[in-house]
């Protein structure tokens, strides 16, 4: 076997040029997936289907029809809350353990059209609700850098699969940081696009006004290439954006940060942030300044309310979106004597975190409490959005940490939901505001007696549809980072 090219960009080019085949790429991916089996990144593999699809891609290329295939033969890991026709979409839940989706998500259809090969479905917190992938009904995913630690979540499976080198690309989903946070924990690039940039059709809903499919790669170029394939308007999703996508991925390395205004948000550098992560952000800031970017202090005064607002809006929508799992039409159904008992016993199969969120979400939407909770949450959400709008009048992008700490040990926060929620403190605001954000690796924490060196993620946020700008800055920082 020839040595497989390292990145998706290289692999797709090699496959298009006939210097590698999709079949080889897929074969190699399954080999690596098996080697990394102990991470528990995957919930199901599509080995037979993937090999057939790879052969079909190779035939197209042999027939000279492969020039347009942006992801020719590139293996992709897909979070198991994104529907792939004919196979499981478990959402990491007992409720959908044996459910088979009758349709492809729009993002999956776009992957297929670009010649990518979905090799398997990856682990996640149940219905994407969690920050560690420990809430999966099928067991946690382990961090490739330290298997005693979490991979982060909820897209822990897809991120671990990319970080461990099983596949070059992964699709995840974001509601409050579920791609960026595991990307930071595992040392990968994670992208949360502008709300509406990627169709949500086929993404199983958690918080519909926040949900967005995100891309994961080992490099900025790869994550950008994947986004360029799955982005775009979709008539099947009324909330998808009609804004033209433009070229998101080509020539990013040529961008020069000179003259860019980079925001430095005071609120993101307060108590609770690990010094090594602060230092990483400062180093990244200094590289940008050295290259001629202007660093501007900005204020996002409503940031402290982000977590509270997020966990009000998201759980309200979650309680509604999860109502359909009633055992009537598909998925798990408990045997019971009457309808009410059937509902109760069926829905008892949700995990503890899901039950907590359904109950809290039901409460905040209840008559008499709606205004105080959901109504207020929506109002503050608009102010958080307003903070960003004002900041982006003065800066092109905002630099911040992705998480306050690196990956924590499995089990450490499992019984402390509030501590778990605080992991999302720097990521939820982008979801609430609908703006794009990316996390990229920037060095590691120093190794200590009880903790190895762990990856650090830094975050860039930008105004609506500024993904290309974020990729350009990210590409520059990637070159400058201590990992380079």
């Amino acid at each position: 076997m020839r040595h497989a090219p390292r990145t998706a960009v290289e692999l797709a080019a090699a496959v298009r040029a006939g210097n590698a085949t999709a079949a080889e790429a897929v074969g190699e991916a399954f080999l690596r997936i098996r080697q990394a089996d102990s991470l528990h990144a995957f919930l199901s593999l599509r080995e037979e289907a993937a090999r057939e699809e790879a052969a079909a891609v190779d035939r197209r290329i042999a027939a000279g029809e492969g020039d347009e295939l942006l992801l020719a033969g590139v293996p992709v890991a897909v979070k198991d809350n994104i529907a792939v026709a004919g196979g499981p979409t478990t959402c990491g839940s007992r409720l959908l353990q044996h459910y088979v989706s009758p349709f492809d998500a729009t993002a999956i259809a776009q992957l297929r059209a670009a010649g990518a090969i979905v090799v398997g479905k990856t682990n996640l917190d149940e219905f994407a609700m969690g920050s560690s992938t420990e809430n999966s009904a099928f067991g946690p995913t382990r961090n490739p850098h330290d298997p005693t630690r979490v991979a982060g979540g909820s897209s822990g499976g897809s991120v671990a699969a990319v970080a461990a080198g099983c596949v070059p690309l992964g699709l995840g989903s974001e509601t409050g940081g579920s791609v960026r946070q595991p990307a930071a924990f595992c040392g990968a690039v994670g992208v949360k696009p502008t709300y509406g940039r990627v169709s949500r059709f086929g993404l199983v809903a958690f918080g519909s006004s926040l949900d967005q499919i995100g891309t994961i790669g080992a490099t900025v170029d790869d994550a950008a290439l994947l986004l360029s394939v799955v982005a775009g308007p979709d008539p099947k999703d009324a909330t998808s954006a009609t804004e033209p996508v433009g070229d998101l991925a080509a020539g990013l390395e040529e961008a020069d940060p000179a003259g860019l205004r980079i925001g430095w948000p005071a609120e993101y550098f307060g108590a609770g942030l690990e010094p090594a992560i602060l230092a990483a952000c400062e180093a990244a800031r200094d590289r940008l300044a050295d290259a001629g970017a202007e660093i501007v202090d900005v204020s996002l005064p409503h940031s402290p309310y982000g977590i509270a607002v997020y966990y009000t809006v998201a759980i309200a929508e979650a309680s509604s979106n999860l109502a359909r799992y009633d055992g009537v039409r598909y998925g798990h159904r408990a045997t019971a004597a009457d309808l009410t008992s059937m509902y109760l016993k069926t829905r008892a199969a949700f995990g503890a975190e899901l039950k907590r969120r359904i109950m809290l979400g039901t409460y905040v939407l209840s008559a008499g409490y709606y205004e105080a909770f959901y109504g207020k949450g929506t109002a503050v959400r608009a102010r958080i959005r307003g903070d960003f709008e004002r900041a982006f009048e003065r800066v092109d992008a905002i630099l911040s940490p992705t998480t306050p700490t690196p990956a924590f040990p499995i089990g450490e926060k499992a019984d402390d939901p509030l501590a778990m929620y605080l992991n999302d403190v720097y990521t939820v605001s982008a979801n609430l505001a609908g703006i794009p954000a990316i996390s990229l690796p920037w060095g590691r924490t120093p190794a200590t007696a009880d903790r190895p060196a762990l990856p650090i993620g830094i975050q860039l946020m930008g105004p609506d549809f500024s993904e290309r700008r974020l990729f350009e800055v990210g590409r520059f920082l990637e070159r400058e980072s201590p990992d380079a």
Binding site: F103, A238, A316, E317, S320, L365
Partner: protein, 487 residues
Amino acid sequence: MREPAAPAGAWEPVIGLEVHVQLATASKIFCGCATAYGAPPNTQICPICLGYPGALPVLNAGAVELAARAALALGCEVHPRSIFARKHYFYPDLPKGYQISQYDRPLATGGALAIRLDDGSAKSIGITRVHLEEDAGKSTHGADGTRVDFNRCGLPLIEVVSEPDLASPREAFLYLSALKRSLEYLAVSDCNMEEGSLRCDANVSLRPRGESRLGTKTEVKNVNSFRYVEAALAFEIERQAAILERGEAVVHETLLWDAGRGEARAMRSKELSHDYRYFPEPDLEPLDLDAAWLAEIREGLPEGPAARADRFVEAYGLPEYDAGVLTATRPLADWFEAAAAAFDDPKEVSNWVMGEVLRLANERGETVALAPEPRPLAPAALAQLLALKAAGTISGSVAKEVLAEMVETGTGAAEIVRERGLAQVSDAAALAAEVDAVIAAHPGEVAAFRGGKQGLIGFFMGQVMKRTGGQANPQLVNALLRQKLAG
């Protein structure tokens, strides 16, 4: 119908209706599934209307247009922005665990519908709101359990909510009839009650006559015919009156009308009922309607039934009664106007349409003026028949026979008259010979007539008609008889 018996006379009923109307779109409101009635269960379904994981709704623009037409025709203000909301409850025929509806920002508010009371006076019934929503599936409860047909799930509905302006079951009936007629005119809905495309919930309370404060109301759910609405309201008014007469309080509750038993049974107390937990539907953008688009819809609105009846009185000189009958449905009114355009005596056309044409249509089980295949009667064909009659070629009674044959065979009037030799004999010389023969054959009757029994003219007419096989021109025969009998 039953009016509430005494002692309800002391109480004034206050009634408001919530009417669900299925819009006449080809596909469902949020997916591409067909809406045709009567398909085998669960054959018009897809992952979207079944609420599969990851499926999303996309609004059917056709449903919005029909809803806007209805709202504008009902005189409502259609709002430039309305918001879809999720209404939550658990039931097996509701796949998502919520219904997509509109809540605090409905499509339209503040309209009115005029009804004509039995004493001929007009009354305006306020329309509180018109909003868009999706239908749920249909549950059928049987001995072997409950079956659910999801074909109905996701059908586009408007809910038309009236003000509590209705003061009797009869008024409720008249309001429903007027609403149905308006919506049919607009082609917004087929309003077929048997197929469930028009369903009604009624809210009713009583208060002492003269009191302006409202009493405690009850809601009678899902009554599937206008007559049942009337009967259910009459029942409920009597029941509430009896409670109030005993000095007790009416309980705020939902009742289900049992047509078989003729009574309303309590479904569930509102206090125990669901908290629907409405919140804005995040899968759909706010519904923004362009003012120019709305103006276009408004301009394209067809003439409503009331306006059309007024015009029939004005333009055709018809009595109000005729205008009311002829405008009962839009196809009938269209049919009349086409016939009236082809024959220059609108009252004569009206008489024939209201009489023979509708009689024949009813006999044939057709609801509109013989419009359906296989042998439609064209308005122009009636005009041709009436022209033959006006010219004296055929008599009125022959014309009725000819019309029946036209309807039966689809043949034109002139052809039937020619083929069957039905043209009247108007040849004075030939008829004079027949008249002479009759006079010669009945000397006794002639003497009696000349002696003053003028009524015998009918006898002589009959004899001449008999000899001519009914084809003699009656006016001519009459004149000849009078002339010769006088001589």
